[in-house]
Symmetry: C2
Subunit: 384 residues, 2 copies
């Protein structure tokens, strides 16, 4: 164990530790500034107020040139002396305090942990500071935008989800992880993947193939697709969590790797792609760090039923809700004038059914890895 | 890449490949025997019948001596010439065929993949072989018990869930994975962890600490608990999937490592423990491979609210359903005469509230790793 500790000490001594220190003291400074402003106003006899940029649809702007969603300038004031906002004001201060403690202790916490840390019964009352986590998570997002610091910079993590294999070596908290040698399981993606935690080392891969589900990822990994096609293989267990999206964005922006998505032919698959590509309304303030405007949608495509000669049994009827969602997605500003996507969504609606990636198994166990994806890659047959 | 291929070839040439071959041909033989019996009966002018052992509560036996749930001898006949069972007979044959193909191709498939593989419209009718996966999964379980072959031996996998770090090196499909060097993400647990896929190599760890959720696992990993306490750290993202349970069982039975669980103080946590320890009714035929009768429940305990001096805010009221579930669990034969567990469940009911592992953060960010678990480990204060 002595050796282990030495290794760790060595890691702490790298310039990376300096980077963490710098980032953390910048975040601490932001929290301090927030606190000082409130203290100053109070001492001057004025009402304490926090100003929170608005994370609403109306304050979300589609930046056509950059190809991402951005947050507008609108902000809401959260005064202390207002019955409507007093509780939220207090909650904002509590979470800011927890974050300060986390950074001081050089620890991270889960969203649920932060909730518990702040949850208590206000002395002399029967009122809780927080009742459920549903109240707590948005307050943390408020703090992210108010401070201009990302959740990761606030030392808060979400669920870990997704895994990775392929022709790349990453360094994670000082440990070198060779993703070419990760067996059938793979490297489990952490929730915080900022450059001070995860660094990219040796990478021969020419692109990233991102698939929707772990079960599909298993098929590609078992067939060693990443080896035969020199790529990195990731999945996000459905809608990829922030950690997974951020990692894809870093692979794209820092290593210039195209991100190619294989998702289901249904509104949910289209929505996952839309979020990977342009960002989402609720996290629009994060888009420049999360969105990948050049991400490609390789399939499953509406045309595939005919083009691949699939059996009727792969069809899953569209529900009324699917049709509603499809029309909403077609009306997104970034899809609205995109002929390819209008055709794609229209094709699905005219089909009257949706299809999953797994349905390709009806052709052959490895049709998806041996034929479908290689053909589409070669022909550059994708939507973007 | 040439080097990679050489490495892989080397792996294929190990005795392990022999083991896989042997296992697979045994499974093939079982499928063939099933098919031959049906063919023989048919050719002799008798009705084809499949005999399926019953996976019901009434056919589940609590083996007190072994401390696990077992399947009894009852079986149901599934004749072809019966409107009630004809469809299931056909479905059973279809899945047996798919499994034969999978083994021949030396590939594995997901539960969903197997469903799709068999799903088609019966020629000349409007009848589908399968409509939903809900019909398909139980047929696969039927085949497991009918053939006496585990799902993994049938080359079928489920979702990957959970991760691992700690003082152990595993070999996964020939790749050596040092779980001491897996950063913040960890090694993602695969769905199939049989000895021909995963081997244990170097292990200094003295026990396994299994926690319920990934977020709690992060706290322990960040505090490098596995290093300071020389253990292995796992989580199963809630109710651990078969792959995770099987891995824990192998670590226990092959390496003699105690399995110590840190779960929530609620009926769900108690149930997770019960399944890890004794197995479940629906998978009773698998218990000797999955159950860990010596597994320990370290916490969270009903007494902890007072013993740890927790704040009222950590209390989550028990719902009517929680109370119902708690009483059901207390009546399980393996808890029914267990004084410790009767006291434990009774304590929770008398508290009137449940508590999550995360609630310990109200004491201190690392109270759970620095104080709570170490104290309980030292005092051997657990239920088993």
């Amino acid at each position: 164990m002595a050796k282990k500790i030495t290794t760790k000490t060595a890691v702490v001594a790298t310039p990376n530790a300096e980077r963490i220190k710098k980032r953390d003291s910048a975040t601490q400074q932001k929290i301090l500034t927030l606190a000082m402003e409130i203290a100053k106003r109070s001492l001057a006899g004025n009402e304490p107020i926090v100003r929170i940029p608005m994370r609403t649809k109306s304050n979300t702007i589609w930046n056509k040139k950059r190809g991402i969603l951005e947050m507008g300038d609108a902000a809401a004031e959260r005064p202390l002396f207002d019955l409507k906002t007093a509780k939220q004001f207090m909650q904002t201060m509590l979470h800011a305090g927890t974050i300060k403690d986390l950074i001081n202790a050089q620890k991270t916490s889960s969203l649920r942990g932060v909730f518990y840390k702040a949850k208590h019964t206000v002395a002399g009352t029967k009122e809780n500071t927080f009742d459920t986590q549903d109240e707590s998570d948005p307050i943390l997002e408020d703090l992210e935008v108010a401070l201009g610091a990302l959740r990761e910079e606030l030392h808060v993590f979400a669920e870990n989800r997704g895994s990775m294999v392929g022709n790349i070596t990453v360094v994670d908290r000082g440990d070198e992880i060779d993703c070419r040698r990760m067996g059938s399981g793979g490297y489990a993606l952490p929730s915080i993947v900022e450059p001070d935690i995860i660094q990219f080392k040796k990478c021969e891969a020419k692109f990233v193939l991102h698939v929707e589900k772990g079960t599909v990822w298993n098929r590609f990994n078992e067939d060693r697709f990443w080896e035969t096609h020199n790529c990195i293989l990731t999945h996000g267990a459905g809608q990829p969590p922030r950690g997974c999206r951020r990692l894809l964005q870093r692979l794209n922006s820092e290593l210039n790797l195209p991100i190619i998505c294989v998702l289901d032919n249904d509104p949910w698959g289209h929505y996952i792609y839309s979020v990977i590509k342009q960002g989402s309304i609720s996290l629009a303030f994060e888009s420049s760090r999360l969105a990948i405007p050049s991400a490609k949608f390789l399939g499953i495509r509406a045309k595939d039923f005919r083009e691949c000669g699939l059996d009727d049994a792969v069809k899953i009827d569209l529900t009324d809700n699917d049709i509603k969602r499809a029309n909403e997605i077609a009306a997104y500003p970034w899809f609205e004038h995109h002929k390819g996507w209008q055709r794609e969504i229209d094709g699905m609606l005219r089909n009257g059914f949706k299809m999953e990636v797994e349905s390709l198994i009806t052709k052959d166990i490895s049709y998806v890895t041996d034929t479908y994806v290689p053909q589409r890659l070669k022909a550059k047959d994708w939507l973007e």
